[in-house]
Assembly symmetry: D2
Homo-oligomer: 244 residues x 4
Amino acid sequence: MRVGVLGAKGKVGATIVDGVESAEDLVFTAGVDADDSLHAFVDTDTAVVVDFTHPSVVMDNLKFLVDHGIHAVVGTTGFTDERIAQVREWLEAAPGVAVLIAPNFAIGAVLSMQFARQAARFFESVEIIELHHPQKADAPSGTAARTARLIAEARKGLPPNPDATSTGIEGARGADVDGVPVHSVRLAGLVAHQEVLFGTRGETLTIRHDSLDRTSFVPGVLLAVRHVAKRPGLTVGIEPLLDL
Amino acid sequence: MRVGVLGAKGKVGATIVDGVESAEDLVFTAGVDADDSLHAFVDTDTAVVVDFTHPSVVMDNLKFLVDHGIHAVVGTTGFTDERIAQVREWLEAAPGVAVLIAPNFAIGAVLSMQFARQAARFFESVEIIELHHPQKADAPSGTAARTARLIAEARKGLPPNPDATSTGIEGARGADVDGVPVHSVRLAGLVAHQEVLFGTRGETLTIRHDSLDRTSFVPGVLLAVRHVAKRPGLTVGIEPLLDL
Amino acid sequence: MRVGVLGAKGKVGATIVDGVESAEDLVFTAGVDADDSLHAFVDTDTAVVVDFTHPSVVMDNLKFLVDHGIHAVVGTTGFTDERIAQVREWLEAAPGVAVLIAPNFAIGAVLSMQFARQAARFFESVEIIELHHPQKADAPSGTAARTARLIAEARKGLPPNPDATSTGIEGARGADVDGVPVHSVRLAGLVAHQEVLFGTRGETLTIRHDSLDRTSFVPGVLLAVRHVAKRPGLTVGIEPLLDL
Amino acid sequence: MRVGVLGAKGKVGATIVDGVESAEDLVFTAGVDADDSLHAFVDTDTAVVVDFTHPSVVMDNLKFLVDHGIHAVVGTTGFTDERIAQVREWLEAAPGVAVLIAPNFAIGAVLSMQFARQAARFFESVEIIELHHPQKADAPSGTAARTARLIAEARKGLPPNPDATSTGIEGARGADVDGVPVHSVRLAGLVAHQEVLFGTRGETLTIRHDSLDRTSFVPGVLLAVRHVAKRPGLTVGIEPLLDL
C-alpha cells in the first residue's frame, strides 16, 4: 500500500514517516509540508495520505484528497459538527473514497475507554485516577472526563456509587464528573497514565493505560492506514476498526 | 422472582441464601441440603434454583428441576461433554425451561478474560502475572492458563512477543503457555489476583482483577438468577449475559 | 515466653489468642475478659500481657500489671498526653518493667510511613492515594493524613510540588494536607490500601500498603510481645522495634 | 559551586551539563572530552568534576583530579577492587580531596533497594517482579538480582517463603536468586520498572520503582555534586548521602 504524509516535517508527521518506512507492507511515497504542492501525492500514485497538520489547512487538504480519489487518515484537531457534515457531503459525491478522522490514535487509550464502558453496569462502584506530568494545565484530563461520561451513560438507571463519607477535607473525594469521582495526580517523572477502578462485593477490576512516550499514536495510525480503504465514506474514531 | 438454593447449608450455599435474601427484587423460598426433599421447591412455587452442590448429585438435581419446569443456575463443577449433552437432551424435551452452568461466576474475572481476548491482537507483547496465597497447589492458576490460551488463539497468525533475552537464570521469563509468558507469585497476605499486561510502541494496557474475598461469586450468581428465564435451553458461562 | 491476653473474648482479643497459641516460641497462659480477675495472670506466672480492651478500663489494667511486674503490649486507644505521663510515672517506680503502647500494629503500614518519611526530601513531587471500602466515614483516612504530615515535615524548606494546573473541576487535585495532595477512593470490594507516590526527573517511586483482612495487626503484636521485655520503661509505637 | 564535566559530548555527559546549567546553586565551568586537556578544569577554578567516560581513561582522569585537589563524582563503570584500592591510596596522599564512585545514581532505584533490605525480615514472603523493554539481553536484570541478594542476606536465619506449589509448568515460579523468586517481564512500550512484594498475614507491602526515561540519573548526580566536598576520601554509592 502506497502511503503519503501531510505535515511531514512536523514532529508528529516525521514520526509517522518513520513508522510507514519501517512497516514491511507499506511504501512511503511523498511527504508534503507547508509550502509543497499536494500534487506530489497524485504524481506518486499515493493510495492513502495521513494528515497531522493544522485546523486552518486541513479542510483544504481533505477537499483535494477526496477530489483526487485518495483515502485520508486524519489526526488534525478542530473537527466541529459543521466540518464533519461538510466532509460527509464531499464523500457522497466521491463513492469509494474513504476518510477516517480520529481524536485519539493510541490503541491502548481507546480500548481502555471501550472496556470501561462495557464493564460499567456490572459493578457497584467506579472511580477514575489519572496521573500526568506536572506541566499539564487541566485537571481532570480530557480523556478522564470523556471516560467518566461514557461510564455515566452506561450506568443510567443504576444506583449511585455507595459512599458513607461524612467528615473530611474538601477535595479528598475527587472531582464529580456525572457522578463518577475523578482524581488527578500531577507528579514529576510521569508522562500520561489512567486507571479506571470498578468494585463490587469481594472483587475489583482495574483497567490501566500507560502512555510512556509521545509516539504511542503510531500503531493506531498504521492500523487506520491499513483498514481505511475497506470503509468508504466517513469513519470517526478508530473504535470501528477494533471489532470489539 | 422466587429463588431456592440447593446445597443451602454449605459455605457457598449459605452465602447465596444471604445474597438472595438481601436483594430487593428476589424472594428466598427454600433451602435444600443433603437429606431434604427436592419437592420443597415445587411446594414453594420456586421459579429458579441455584445449585452449588457436588458432582455426585448435581445431575439428579438437574433432572428433577427440568422435569418440574424450574430454571437452574449451576456452579457445581465436573461438567464433562457427556454431562453437557445429557442436560441439553433433557432441555429439548422441556421447552421454556432454562439452565445456566458456569465454571466462574466472578464478573470481574470473566470480564477481564473477555477484555484480554479482545485486546490481544492489537499489541506486540503480552504477559500474565497471577498472584495468590502460598497455600495454592498449582502454578500457574487455572484462570491464568485459560486466559493465556484465549489470548494465544486470538493472536494466531501474528508474530510472537519480541524478546531479546540471551542470558539469564532459568525460570526468570516465566512459564510458556501457548507462547504467552505466565508468572506466578505466591505471597502470604494475598488472596487471588491477576494482571494481563499488553504493550506496544509507547504505551501499555493492563487489565487487573483482584478477588479479595471468597464471596465474589455472589453478584454473578444473582445476575444469572435474574436473566436465566429469558434464555430457555442451555447456557454455558455468564459471558452471554454480559452483552459484550 | 508466657503470654496472657486482656479482652480475650473480643474479636481482636480472640485473634491474638489464636496467634499466640500458634506461635512455637510462645505459651498462652490466660485470657481475661470483663468479669474475670486480673490475678489469673499472676497465678499463671505470665510474663507479658496483651491488652486490647477499652479506654475506660485500660489504665486500671496497666496499673495492676506494672505493680505486679508484668510487661504489657497495648493496642487499646485513647492515650492522651496525661495518660502517657501517668504510665511513665508508674514505670519509674517499677524498674525493669516494660510497657509498649502503639496506635497501629500493622508492620506494613508502619514501614510504609517510615519509608515515605525517609524518601520525602529526595523527590520534587509527592502525592498520596488511599483506597477503602465505601462504609468508611472519613476522607482522607487517618493514616493518610498522618503520612502526609510526616512527609510535609521532612520536606520543610524544600520547594512545593510543581503543579501547572490552571483550569479544572473542583476536587480533582485532591485534599491539601500540609501541601501534600491526598486522594480518597471509596470502592465496593476494597478493604484498606494506600499508595505514596514520589516523582522526580525520569523516575517515580511508589510505596503501596494493602491491608486485606482485619487480622493484619497480629504479626506486629507478636513482634512486640517478643521484644518488649528488652525495653524497660515506656515505648510508644512499634517503630523502635524495627531497627530502621 | 563550580562544576565541570568529563565526557561532556557523550549523551550522558551532555545531559549532565544541561542539569548543572539549570541548577541555580551550581556554575558550569568546563566540558572536557576525548581530545581536550584536563587543565581546563584547573584554569576555570573548578571545584567538582563529574566523570561519565570510559573504563580505559577514568583512572588517568581521577589521578589528575586528585593531584590537582579537585573533587570527583564518577559514574563510569569498571571499578574492580584493585582500582578502588588504588583510588583510596591516591586519596590518602591528598587529605581533603573527595571522590564518590557510584554504580547507580537513580535515587528512586537506590532508595527502593534500601527499603527492600529494611523490610525484608518483617514479612513471611518476598518476591520480585522486574519489567523491561524487550531489547534487554539479561533476565533477571542486574538490579533485580542485586536486590534479591540484599534481601536474602537480611533474611538469613529466617524460614523460607511458604510455598505449597506441587504441580505446574516450569518457570511459573520465576528464577530463584538466593531463595527469592524473581520474575522478568519483557514488554514493548516499557522502559525499566521493578516491584518488590512483601507479604504477611493480612497485609502486603509493595515497593515499586519506575524509570521512565534515561535521564533519571541527573538528580542523583547533582545530589552527589552538592555533598561530595563534605566527605573527604572515598565514598562508594550514593546511599551514604541519603541519611537513611
